[in-house]
Amino acid sequence: MLTLEEVLVRQGAFEIAADFSVKSGARVALIGPSGAGKSTVLSVIAGFIAPVRGRLTMSGADVTGAAPGARPLSILFQDSNLFPHLTVFQNVALGIRPNLKLSAEEQARTMAALENVGLAGFEDRKPAALSGGQQSRAALARVLLRDTPLLLLDEPFSALGPALKVEMLDLVQSIAAENGTTLLMVTHDPEDALRICESAILVADGRAHAPVPTAGLLDNPPDSLRDYLGK
């Protein structure tokens, strides 16, 4: 579904190489020491950073030079996933209509997505009037509505408490399973990876390695990961 062919990224003196593919419908974690470039890899896939070399394909189409909005994916950032000046409804509806000119059918679909994540009745509120968990749900409602084949998560739940984070991960898992979405998720917590990702990509030593089964990687980590995990 997603392939990075001999991709090389350069950010000043920092370089990272990636050459791997992810199968359709797979749920993959990106694990590695902090500063290794996990978020950078995600930014390249999302189109915010152009690689200096290599090719990127999604569902067979070359997207190497495509604008972020033209790629068949949704992304949730660490923060600022909602516009504070727009209502929850507008924030979610932006996922299908960037100009917010919605048909009656699109309005109904937006409401349905809100209902699906348990935010029915919150559509007219501004994000500031929501709890942290509700804000995450609103962002996930937009992911649900967009229904893109690929979902990228750049630790969007790291500010939530442990129980709430697990709740959100489970919601992500059920959304991904329902729509057959391919999931790529940056995490610094091995527990998160084990919980919903059957495979994991190790990002370390200037390289994003090919995905391997999560449990195997964590049970028998290479040196670069062992120091980080503290095992």
Binding site: G47, F48, G69, L94, P98, P127
Partner: protein, 518 residues
């Protein structure tokens, strides 16, 4: 980072149009004035004396402003007291104060019959004179001492409080503190503050018009006015304007090299707790600075209330015209600054250059701008009907640098915070402007518009050239009342103008703050 993927066509077109308009306003009008000049006149001794006076008064004004601001800023930095925040806010007020109002207030305090003259008269001294070099410098210090204080106070508060704590734990005296902590900061901040004020005072017109004049105290801008008004010598005016561009350009280059402090006023409410220095001395400095700012304004208010009944009937028409011109000028400033800022933001290499075009009008002469516009259009349009629109346009161009200064950091922040999210949602063009940029830029845009409105309301520039009872503005009417020695009426008009300017600023700025989500 994501900008490269944005379709920038509409930004290029609208921003490019603004760049073109501003270039025409600054240089095209100068060209028009030079083109219409009938004979080439050389700059004589009078003009060179104006250049010398301009530089000398600007030097003295910035020197006094900066030197006096240092103890005042230090007092603010290390003392916490009731009303401190209000006083610091007040330090921002002279910027939006109509120049002619402040001049009248200063005359009421330092003039021949002012408070100071009356007081020393009790001891048999001669009354003081305010007209001439020292009057011009006095007025410039009145406007720029607060600015310098804010800039230097910012420098003081940028020194981490931990360093002062460490210094106190090492038992540093005031001298040690100065040598190790304050002197390095001042060396970094003061030259920039000095340059900013020097630049502002170089292009001063209204102060020189009201308090200067005569062959010995004429600024370049005032000489341009006289060249138009009394000699109708277009080539002399154009030459003087070129000279002013050259001087300001040189000053701008020096400023770039010196690095000018930001002074956006963030976090000025902090105090670094310290035990050194004399509380009484600090109190004296703050008291003197506050009195210097407040007494002239209090005089305007006190004498203005009585003067309201002395106002000629024509004043209300002038006030209405001023409100209309200021409102239109504020709107136009927003319409100019937004495309310009968006274009500067979207370009990588040329962005700084586009931004620079927005700052050029600081060096331009509004009088040349206005005259150039008349020359270019008078064949088709009746000049009298054009006086107010030209004033509005020139005012907007002159306010643009300040509005741009308010808008650019905000725009960069919006891109940094939400640019990636918007790009990932395919928000571009109008949708991005409508649903991201405009709502998030409301505060800085409104602040820029409020500045433009207040500046335009108090402007005594282009309109002075085309004085005509039918298109008089309030500042001009006030200036003419002063010229006719109708002082009670002048104080009444000044109070009216002061109130309208502050109200204009407050209303627009508040409009941008209401219901804004964090």
């Amino acid at each position: 980072m994501a900008d490269r993927f944005q379709p920038i066509n509409w930004i290029t077109v609208s921003g490019g149009a603004v760049v073109l308009l501003l270039t025409c306003l600054s240089f095209g009008t100068l060209g028009a004035v030079a083109w219409r000049a009938e004979a080439v006149s050389n700059l004589g001794p009078q003009e060179w004396s104006a250049v010398r006076f301009t530089l000398w008064q600007a030097f003295l004004s910035s020197l006094f402003s900066v030197v006096l601001a240092i103890p005042v800023a230090r007092a603010f930095a290390r003392r916490q007291f009731w009303g401190r925040q209000a006083l610091i806010t007040l330090l921002g007020a002279p910027f939006i104060l109509p120049v002619i109002v402040a001049v009248l207030g200063l005359i009421a305090v330092f003039g021949r019959t002012g408070l100071v003259s009356q007081f020393i008269g009790l001891f048999g001294f001669e009354p003081v004179q305010i007209y001439g070099l020292h009057g011009v410098v006095l007025a410039h210090v009145f406007f720029n001492l607060p600015l310098a204080t804010r800039l230097i106070l910012q420098g003081w508060l940028d020194v981490p409080g931990e360093r002062f704590r460490l210094a106190q734990s090492l038992n540093f005296g005031t001298g040690d503190m100065f040598r190790h902590l304050e002197w390095p900061m001042l060396r970094r901040v003061v030259p920039g503050a000095f340059m900013v004020i020097f630049l502002i005072c170089t292009t001063s017109f209204a102060v020189a018009l009201a308090l200067g004049g005569g062959p010995k105290s004429t600024t370049i801008e005032l000489a341009i006015y006289q060249a138009f008004k009394f000699d109708f010598d277009l080539s002399k005016a154009a030459l003087l304007a070129l000279l002013q561009f050259a001087i300001c350009g040189a000053l701008a280059l020096i400023s770039l090299w010196i690095s000018v402090p930001g002074g956006q006023g963030a976090g000025l409410d902090r105090v670094t707790p310290r035990q050194d220095g004399s509380v009484w001395l600090d109190g004296l400095w703050i008291g003197l600075a506050a009195a210097f700012l407040l007494v002239p304004l209090a005089m305007i208010t006190a004498r203005g209330v009585g003067g309201l009944t002395e106002l000629p009937g024509s004043i209300w028409g002038a006030a209405l015209r001023s409100v209309l011109v200021a409102t239109a000028s504020a709107l136009l400033t927003v319409a100019l600054v937004l495309p310009l800022a968006l274009l500067a933001q979207s370009l990588k290499a040329g962005g700084r250059l586009v931004e620079a075009v927005g700052y050029v009008s600081i060096a331009a002469s509004p009088l040349v701008m206005g005259t150039g516009l008349f020359i270019l259009t008078f064949a088709w349009i009746d000049p009298v009907s054009l006086a107010l629109p030209v004033t509005m346009l020139v005012n907007a161009a002159m306010s643009l640098p300040f509005a741009l200064r308010a808008v650019m950091p905000g725009l960069a922040q919006v891109e940094a915070d939400y640019g990636r999210l918007a790009s990932s949602l395919r928000m571009s063009g109008w949708a991005r402007l409508r649903w991201l940029v405009l709502p998030r830029m409301r505060r800085p845009l409104a602040f820029g518009a409020a500045l433009a409105g207040a500046l335009s309301m108090g402007d005594l520039g282009v309109i002075a050239l085309f004085a005509n009872p039918e298109n008089q503005t309030l500042p001009l009417a006030l200036y003419q009342l002063m010229g006719a020695y109708r002082m009670e009426g002048a104080f009444g008009a000044a109070l009216l103008l002061l109130t309208l300017s502050l109200a204009m600023f407050w209303l627009i700025d508040r409009g941008g703050r209401r219901d804004v989500d964090a």
